[in-house]
Subunit: 233 residues, 2 copies
DNA sequence: TTAATAGTGTCTATGAGACATTATGCA
DNA sequence: TGCATAATGTCTCATAGACACTATTAA
């Protein structure tokens, strides 16, 4: 670690908060109030302050800019291309988080922030060549966050983080379908989820649907999913 | 991204170069010439210079400190605890890479660097409570690198990156055994590898062993491994 | 009744784990 | 000959995929 010039280099954190809304995977964005990229949409985030943990920076800036308080952030990766910010060299440590949208308005984004369906964004990295254009290299970060979510559904019980409790197996299945963009076989999905101890816990209650009422479940204690549910080749 | 105080914060890159040597997973370390942690062993790495890609910093400092030239680095994660470096706030972007050790001395570490078997290191994060103590939080980085390697063996053909060409299936199997620390069933492993198109390509040659001579193979073009080879619960 | 979704049961194909057996070198 | 490792064959079990069928509500 030889010391070289390291001034004029900023460190920031950005957060890709994902949810499933109206059957679509969505990400929380903020409309930028200032240049550069004024009025364009960007991930919430900001610079690291002295003696502040990176994850705390992510939580703090997320709360400041969107009003969302999320406690379990997961580091995604770090983006440091020299010209990714036109003002100066900024290395950003991106975090990803997953949340359910409940009916409590206190948990909804405020100010210039809102959720956007991934499908409505211009994300070349996901072969989406039209839609809302994002500031900086944030389309790349969103693409990586989406891939992280897709991968984690395979081998963890993350899907249940996207649904509000209590939930039905149909709702849980539609999370998989929204994130992976494919349809899953209802009966096999049920067998798999119920056959994994600790994935979900039955409440004994039922909820009305468009058809037969469905059993309600809560999240179980298990976080790993073994064997995994694989997306296929 | 509101601008706040961001001076006095350094950005560095560190590299965990992994290999399999004498049947053991090993990592390339450098004995520190200066304080802090003088004479202790650390990952090669150094500060990012102006307008330098993070990956280039990693490659450059690896080459400077160890003489190893590795072109395919993969970002591992970023470590930014406020006091991880006693001198100043330093955020380090860690990279991981995988290499085979051939007989060419040009590809061996030089100077104060050498490979250390993971088993000989003090890595609390891997429940290894005695052995060589590493500088900074590098035992955590090494632990994460080892876990990355273990995971990638499952769903990619990474294992072949650890063996010098040409290689036998026995050598390839011993890579899995060294990295995962378990023994694999020889016949099932062979069926799996040969049943995955593009994992290995037969050369037609054979190599002597302690028993029957073994067919020799080269790396194939496939990088994904489907279905994966799973370590088990 | 029909439509819609929840939920159960079962057949089959695939692939992993386990094991037996043969092949081929060397001491 | 015995030993060590390579290589092949096969049986079994777990599980995913597919599909048929029943259950329960609302319109």
């Amino acid at each position: 670690m030889a010391g070289t010039d390291r001034l004029g280099l900023g460190v920031a954190c950005d957060v890709a908060l994902l949810t499933v809304r109206r059957g679509q995977l969505a990400v929380l964005l903020v409309q930028r109030p200032d240049e550069p990229y004024r009025d364009q949409w960007a991930l919430p985030g900001g610079f690291v302050t002295d003696d502040e943990e990176l994850e705390v920076t992510a939580e703090r800036t997320l709360a400041d800019e969107t009003g969302m308080h999320i406690s379990h952030l997961e580091q995604l990766r770090t983006y440091g291309k020299p010209n990714r910010d036109p003002r100066a060299r900024v290395v950003t440590v991106a975090y990803v988080a997953f949340t359910a949208l409940d009916d409590d308005p206190a948990n909804h984004p405020v100010g210039r922030s809102r959720f956007w369906a991934i499908d409505d964004l211009l994300i070349p990295e996901l072969d989406q060549c039209d839609g809302l254009s994002l500031a900086f290299d944030h389309s790349l970060i969103v693409a990586d966050a989406v891939e992280r979510a897709r991968a984690k559904l395979e081998y963890t019980t993350l899907a249940s983080a996207f649904v509000d409790e209590p939930f039905t197996l149909g709702e849980l299945r539609r999370v998989y379908e929204a994130v992976w963009g494919i349809s899953l076989h209802e009966a096999n999905f049920r067998r798999k989820v119920l056959g994994t101890p600790g994935f979900v816990e039955a409440t004994g209650e039922t909820a009305p649907t468009d058809g037969r009422p469905a059993q309600l479940y809560r999240r179980g204690n298990e976080t790993r999913l073994w064997p995994p549910i694989l997306r296929g080749a």
